[in-house]
Symmetry: C2
Subunit: 114 residues, 2 copies
Amino acid sequence: MPDFDAALCPRYHRAVEIIGRRWSGSILRVMLSGATRFTDIKHAVPDLSDRMLSERLKELEAEGLVVREVTSSTPVRIDYRLTPMGEALGPALDAIGAWATRWIELPEAPAERA
Amino acid sequence: MPDFDAALCPRYHRAVEIIGRRWSGSILRVMLSGATRFTDIKHAVPDLSDRMLSERLKELEAEGLVVREVTSSTPVRIDYRLTPMGEALGPALDAIGAWATRWIELPEAPAERA
C-alpha cells in the first residue's frame, strides 16, 4: 500500500479545485468533444447561464487551459480552444465520466426516448 | 470528433461535484493510499481542520463512497473505509494526479529538503 505522496498534494489539490469548480468540469468536457463557440458550449451544458459560462471561460483562460481566439471577419468570430494543458485533461475527465456512468445514480431519471 | 454525450452530463456533473468539493479529492486520495484513521487522514492533508474532515467524511458516507467501521475494543477503534464505489475512483484520481504533476505550477515553491 503506497504512502500518500505529500509533495504532490498541493498540486493535486489545485487540480481538483480547477476541475471541480461549479460547471468547469462539464465545460471542459464539452470543449474536449470539439465545441469551440460560446453558444455551442452553453447549449451542451444544462442550466448554464451566459454569465456563468463567461466567468468560467475567463478563469480557464487565466489558468492556461483555454485560449480565446478572435477571427476578424464580419461579424467577428470568437472561438474558445483548449491549450495543450487543457487537452491533457482528457484522460482524467474520461475516467471521471466512466466512474460516473458506472456508479452515480440520479435521484430522478430524466425522461428518455427510445 | 465525437459529440458531447448529453445523457451522461447530469451523472458526470454530479461526479465532478463530489470529487471537487473542497478537500474531498484530497481526502479520497489519502484514503486510496490506505489511510483509515481520522488522525492519519487529517495529518496527510495540509490545512484540513477536524471539523471539515468530519463533515466531508459524513458526506462521503452519505454518498456511498465511505463506510465508518466501529470496532468495540477499549478504547473503541474507528476506521473509515472506502466502499467499492469509493475504491473505483482510483483511476480517475490517479489521472488527475498525473495531470497535476505535469501541468500545475505552484505559485510559491514549498521549502524542500534534500
